[in-house]
């Protein structure tokens, strides 16, 4: 009896009560340490209500608050070869993939969707940093190509939210080849005369920055986002120079002429709408007339069923370092 009372019961209790633990209800801000209630945080798009620090946001959550009424349709992305190189480091690549899929509830590191923002039809693509560091492999390349093709077909602008540690090393040279591949996709858009807006979010580094993330007609970044080719650690190790405060952050890049704007996430929707409508030659949007964007804490709005096979992802906001870029991406 003692054994059951002292060991088994606490174990069972701990297993069951864990779900009720406030870890899902409260999130600590990475920057200021304030404990934020989950609803408050998600209503503010994972931006700390106390210090304005931008935490990571999953593509699905972003789309729910970006598209009118949280309604969007996923654009199908052709599935590439799995594990083209037979890559194995300490783990096999397919095992890492499965773990990432299980952990995120997503198929891969980019989500493409179409829908309306302020009654303006757009195609959006968002990279998922919590999926193997958002790393760019063949799937991400295919996703960008699919997004560009859909935008060209429907004559819609493309808005891309980047977030990645870089190329996916487990796909070797084929991940590197996504730099030219995604560039071809962007050229198709430009030749069709359609706007391509990039929103750089924390972090955007490596081959991603050195290809589609830097080729936008308009380049916007979220505050504080790390944006670079070579990461600060690599630079410090190589040149043994002390790097200045805020080096490679969005504001620093803005100052150095590499960005058009740095815009808080909570203002992005309106800004994107304004810019896209001007570039598309449409009259000004009547903001007041629109239904309020859904909050993703209310649960997912049902996207049209045909393309969404995956269960709703965990609603918990993923902190930016949930999966370090090291897991799959080069810095």
């Amino acid at each position: 009896m003692n054994w059951i009372n002292n060991y088994v019961r606490p174990k069972i209790n701990s297993l069951f009560s864990r779900r009720e633990m406030p870890e899902n209800l409260w999130t600590k801000c990475d920057a200021c340490g304030t404990m934020l209630f989950h609803r408050e945080l998600s209503d503010n798009l994972n931006v700390c209500t106390s210090c304005g620090h931008h935490m990571g946001i999953r593509p699905r959550d972003r789309f729910l608050t970006l598209f009118d009424g949280g309604i969007f349709t996923e654009v199908p992305v052709p599935t590439p070869l799995t594990d083209p190189l037979g890559f194995r480091d300490q783990k096999k690549y397919p095992d890492r993939m499965r773990a990432a899929q299980k952990g995120t509830g997503e198929k891969e590191a980019m989500l493409v969707a179409e829908g309306e923002i302020g009654r303006t039809p757009v195609v959006c693509a968002a990279q998922d940093f919590s999926f193997m560091g958002g790393s760019m492999g063949m799937y991400v390349g295919n996703a960008i190509i699919a997004a560009a093709q859909r935008a060209v077909e429907r004559r819609r602008p493309l808005i891309l939210f980047s977030a990645a540690g870089g190329a996916r090393m487990q796909e070797g040279i084929l991940s590197l080849m996504q730099m030219p591949r995604s560039t071809v996709a962007i050229q198709m858009l430009k030749e069709a005369g359609l706007p391509y807006i990039v929103v750089l979010t924390h972090p955007t580094t490596g081959g991603v920055t050195a290809s589609y993330a830097m080729l936008g007609d308009v380049q916007i970044a979220e505050p504080g986002a790390l944006i670079c080719f070579a990461g600060p650690r690599v630079i410090e190790q190589t040149i043994r120079e002390k790097l200045p405060e805020g080096f490679q952050r969005a504001e620093y890049l803005l100052e150095h002429g590499m960005l058009d704007r740095v815009t808080p996430r909570t203002k992005l929707r309106e800004e994107l709408l304004t810019i896209v409508r001007m570039l598309m030659g449409l009259p000004p949007a009547v903001i007041a007339d629109l239904p309020p964007p859904a909050s993703f804490s209310q649960g997912p709005a049902e996207p049209e069923a045909e393309d969404t096979e995956n269960a709703a992802p965990p609603r918990r906001p993923a902190p930016p370092d949930a999966e370090p870029p090291e897991a799959g991406a080069k810095g």
Binding site: L81, L176, M177
Partner: protein, 319 residues
């Protein structure tokens, strides 16, 4: 002759043969020729054994061999009237990137390539072949010019990668690479690329997004250096052998993957043991590739190039 680590046993034998011959030169009555020839033969067999099946990591070492012919050597030997053109018209001239007008046989072309330097002084000048943003922007400028005047572009790739420096980042290294790749995809003239040593990551792609990509037999082309990959995925930079293996960065694997179009054979023992032969072989292959692409119209060249990259990844290597 600089010997690589795995060539040490070979160095010993070749050293002994050399020693014997030196002794014989000092004492003319000594007859060592038979012994020396035996050593030569032994060395030749060993060289063949070593190079018959180089591991990927050894290939990396060969690709970085300081005695391999570099961009400058190819330009001097294969082209005439080379006229370097400098600067990005914005900030600086980048000595890591050579570029200018030249003739291959009679055909005027634009030639661009990474130059690593051959001794300490020139290596520092050339920044070890690591371009800064200005290098890519100069390349863009030269490609634009080639496009306007209908000149084929030839790029010679040999870089450890982009330069991880503070200034390079501040001046938009990522954007510069992205624009160079974009430019490669836009020009309506033949773009031919040869990876002559190291094809390091974005710095290589920026020049090698070409209609035809050739690689020297023992050159490598990779998304990240084996050392970098090892320190990230194995958390141990010493695992570079494993990383080199896993990354599939050899010319042979890349041909199977459809990422490159041809392999240019190197002399026995690598390009460093037959520099002239290697340069000649590259010249021959450049002429073939030029012939294959000359006469096509702008649209065809652009479409073909884009198609090629869009189709990449349909072939895997997994056993």
């Amino acid at each position: 002759m600089n010997y690589l680590e795995f060539e040490k046993p070979l160095a010993e034998i070749e050293g002994k043969a050399e020693e014997l011959r030196a002794m014989a030169r000092a004492n003319p009555e000594m007859d060592i020729e038979q012994e020396a020839t035996a050593l030569d033969r032994k060395a030749a067999t060993m060289l063949q054994e070593l190079y018959k099946s180089l591991t990927p990591w050894r290939k990396c070492q060969v690709a970085r061999h300081p005695d391999r012919p570099h961009c400058k050597d190819y330009i001097e030997a294969l082209f005439t009237e080379y006229t370097p053109l400098a600067g990005d018209r914005n900030f600086a001239e980048d000595n890591a990137v050579m570029g200018g007008l030249a003739r291959l046989d009679d055909q005027p072309v634009v030639v661009i390539g990474h130059e690593k330097g051959f001794d300490t002084k020139t290596r520092l000048e050339r920044n070890f072949g690591m371009a800064r943003p200005e290098g890519y922007r100069k390349a863009v400028r030269l490609m634009d010019m080639a496009d306007r005047f209908g000149l084929p572009v030839i790029t010679l790739v040999d870089t450890p990668g982009a330069y991880p420096g503070k200034g390079a980042e501040e001046r938009g290294q990522a954007e510069a690479i992205a624009r160079a790749t974009e430019k490669c995809l836009q020009i309506g003239v033949p773009l031919l690329s040869v990876i002559i040593g190291e094809g390091g990551s974005g710095g290589a792609v920026a020049f090698a997004t070409a209609n035809r990509v050739a690689m020297l037999e023992h050159s490598v082309y990779s998304v990240i250096s084996p050392e970098g990959c090892a320190s990230i995925l194995w958390k141990d930079a010493e695992k570079m052998r494993e990383a080199a293996e896993a990354l599939r960065l050899t010319a042979q694997d890349l041909l199977k993957l459809g990422v490159i179009d041809r392999i240019i054979a190197e002399p026995m023992g690598g390009a460093q043991r037959g520099r002239d032969q290697t340069i000649e072989a590259v010249g021959r292959n450049l002429r073939v590739m030029l012939k294959e692409t000359t006469g096509k119209d702008r649209a065809a060249l652009i479409t073909e190039r884009r198609r090629k990259f869009l189709d990449m990844g349909s072939r895997g290597l997994a056993a």
